[in-house]
């Protein structure tokens, strides 16, 4: 696997130089002659502007706003690389935009920005609202990302999504639903340990509870150990990370204190999003878990524990964030579909219940194909999953009253399928016509 990584690093450097960027703003209207500019631009366009001025929501119909998402970061926590700055984050955001385009048919614009403070980032994102159908926040450090997302979600009327929180948590939830099913468990009553209290697991805790888990049966650990109401640093957390503070108060009904071993004693499932392994979690710790244990190791590129080691220590269903092991818990399964569905109904926000419904749909898709220990979640090649999840998200938005456009599920599915297929057709056509070249060998 190190070989594989070296190979992809080498290629990434070569190809990035060759192509000079992964996405581009491209025309989608014909220019039959220069006369057409009097329609696409002045004087004709003024009529469109006036109509939108009278009804701002028409910007979703007359412009590309309906399908445009900004991928915004301050570069403060990029992949596993830490605070590498906005320029360093640009290739990552370009990659994200490409995935949005290819899997979700979303016109995503990479926008790493120089933002020294939370307020700068918040006001920048708010200022983008008129030209966007939504905003994807990416790679912003915790706990800053929680406050930023909360503020933007409450103050904006387009969906704001932080993929490292909602995306990872949503996919985790989908995989967990099927792992529980496979091992004969229900969410309610299962003891679930969340190891790592960063963006992903803080959001996972909230979604799990909203999906029906009993908070008393959840245990969350950060780098100092189990969160519990009498931990020494509770007052510090109250001031510096109220999300962890509140989790300490509402979870862990049995008041377990200590470390991972104590937490895993009698646990049914483990979701580790704690940092690179491969020996961050020990076989002895997995052995503390109940029979038919579920263990997810989500750190990339090196999972907290290797699946083979976890299985040997008695785990029954294992998932990682990696594509070269079975059961990849991969954000890319969710975010293109979530936004596809949200954009198609012109949603004003993406609520937690929309994420949970998307996770349930993702899980149901895998169940229809037949789940097993090695298949609890769809893979990215099963592309039919995207329009289906999109349609579910669209319906959830309509049901919750956050959709500007009230499509039926059938309409939602048709719209999503068409837009995603269109994106793929564009890619194929560009390649076929030699406009996008294959990389030099």
């Amino acid at each position: 696997m190190p070989e594989r990584r070296e190979d992809s690093s080498k290629k990434a450097l070569e190809y990035s130089r060759f192509y000079g960027g992964k996405v581009v703003v491209a025309p989608k209207v014909p220019v039959r002659s220069l006369e057409d500019f009097s329609i696409w631009y002045t004087p004709g366009v003024a009529a469109v502007s006036r109509a939108i001025e009278a009804d701002a929501d028409l910007s979703f119909e007359y412009t590309g706003r309906w399908n445009t998402v900004a991928v915004v970061t301050d570069g403060s926590r990029v992949l596993g690389l830490g605070n590498i700055g906005p320029e360093g984050a640009l290739p990552v955001m370009e990659g994200k935009a490409l995935i949005y385009n290819y899997l979700g048919g979303v016109n995503a614009i990479p926008l790493p920005i120089r933002a020294e403070s939370k307020d700068t980032l918040v006001s920048f994102v708010k200022a983008l609202e008129p030209s966007m159908g939504g905003v994807n926040l990416e790679d912003i450090e915790s706990p800053k990302c929680f406050e930023i997302l909360e503020r933007l979600r409450s103050e904006m009327t387009i969906p704001v999504w932080h993929d490292d929180q909602q995306g990872t948590a949503g996919v985790t939830l989908a995989a967990l639903f099927n792992a529980l099913e496979l091992t004969g468990r229900k969410l309610r009553g299962s003891k679930i340990v969340l190891f790592g209290a960063g963006a992903a697991n803080i959001a996972a805790e909230r979604l799990l509870v909203q999906a029906g888990a009993n908070p008393r049966d959840l245990i969350v650990l950060d780098s100092k150990g189990i969160l519990e109401p009498e931990r020494d640093d509770m007052d510090k957390l109250m001031l510096r990370n109220r999300w962890k503070h509140d989790i300490a108060l509402r979870t862990n009904g049995e008041r377990v204190s200590g470390g991972l071993k104590e937490a895993l004693s009698g646990a049914d499932a483990l979701v580790a999003a704690a940092g690179n392994g491969p020996e961050l979690i020990k076989p002895d710790e997995i052995r503390m878990m109940n029979k038919k244990a579920i263990a997810f190791f989500l750190a990339n590129p090196v999972p907290e524990m290797l699946p083979s080691a976890a299985l040997a220590a008695g785990a029954e269903v294992v998932a990682t964030g990696r594509s070269d092991y079975p059961n990849q818990v991969n954000n890319s399964l969710l975010f293109p579909a979530i936004f596809r569905g949200a954009l198609d109904v012109r949603a004003k926000t993406i609520t937690d219940s929309m994420v949970i419904e998307a996770a349930m749909e993702l899980a149901a898709f895998a169940r229809e194909k037949g789940i097993s220990k090695k298949y609890i979640i769809p893979t990215m090649v099963q592309w039919e999953v995207y329009p289906q999840v999109a349609a579910t998200v669209g319906q959830a938005a309509v049901k919750e009253g956050v959709a500007r456009k009230k499509l039926s599920k059938k309409e939602s599915l048709a719209a999503a399928t068409e837009t995603i297929e269109h994106s793929r057709k564009v890619m194929n056509a560009l390649r076929r016509n030699g406009i996008i070249l294959d990389p030099p060998e």
Partner: protein, 170 residues
């Protein structure tokens, strides 16, 4: 002056009712722990309140003499045998001013999961009653200027700033 709702028992605990009472000898270990937490919380607001390594031993000494003293008050909030809150105060004479006698709150802390349940209010009122019986004509509390949570708590209950202790690192 009666609190609007009775304190409920803490989040996960099986829930015997909370009781505010004078501290007993067996409470002192827990009381000292809570007092150290107060000091650490102060440090979160101001680096000039860095807590000494032997704070726990000092806190124990600080509270030991406060039981059964005629001019000191040590109240605890307890859930069964468990101490969940503490309030320590002492009587002080104001040499040059009237009113002459003050009940001076030196330490006040409630464990996180017992907050926002009116327990703080109840403890302050109980302390005021006790201190009045001990001769206090006014009640004052020592709060670091930067600790906005404590300042807000007292301000909401009608306390106002009486004197300002100013400081600097030379």
């Amino acid at each position: 002056m009666t609190p609007q709702n009775r304190p409920k028992s803490g989040g996960g605990s099986p829930g015997s009712a909370l009781q505010i009472r004078r501290a007993r000898k067996e409470d002192l270990g827990a009381v000292a722990d809570l007092i150290v937490r107060t000091k650490r919380l102060n440090n979160e607001f101001d680096p000039l309140f860095a807590v000494v390594p032997d704070a726990k031993a000092k806190a124990e000494k600080h509270v030991t003499g406060s039981i059964e003293s005629i001019d000191r008050l040590l109240l605890v909030a307890a859930e069964g045998p468990k101490v969940v809150g503490v309030l320590r105060a002492e009587m002080r004479e104001r040499l040059f001013y009237e009113p002459h006698m003050e009940g001076f709150i030196t330490d006040f802390y409630i464990l996180p999961e017992y907050r926002r349940k009116a327990l703080g209010n109840e403890m302050i009122q109980r302390a005021a009653t006790e201190l009045k019986k001990m001769g206090a004509q006014i009640i004052v509390a020592d709060v670091p200027a930067q600790n906005e949570i404590a300042n807000r708590f007292y301000a909401k209950r009608g306390f106002r700033s009486l004197s300002n202790l100013v400081g600097m690192s030379p």
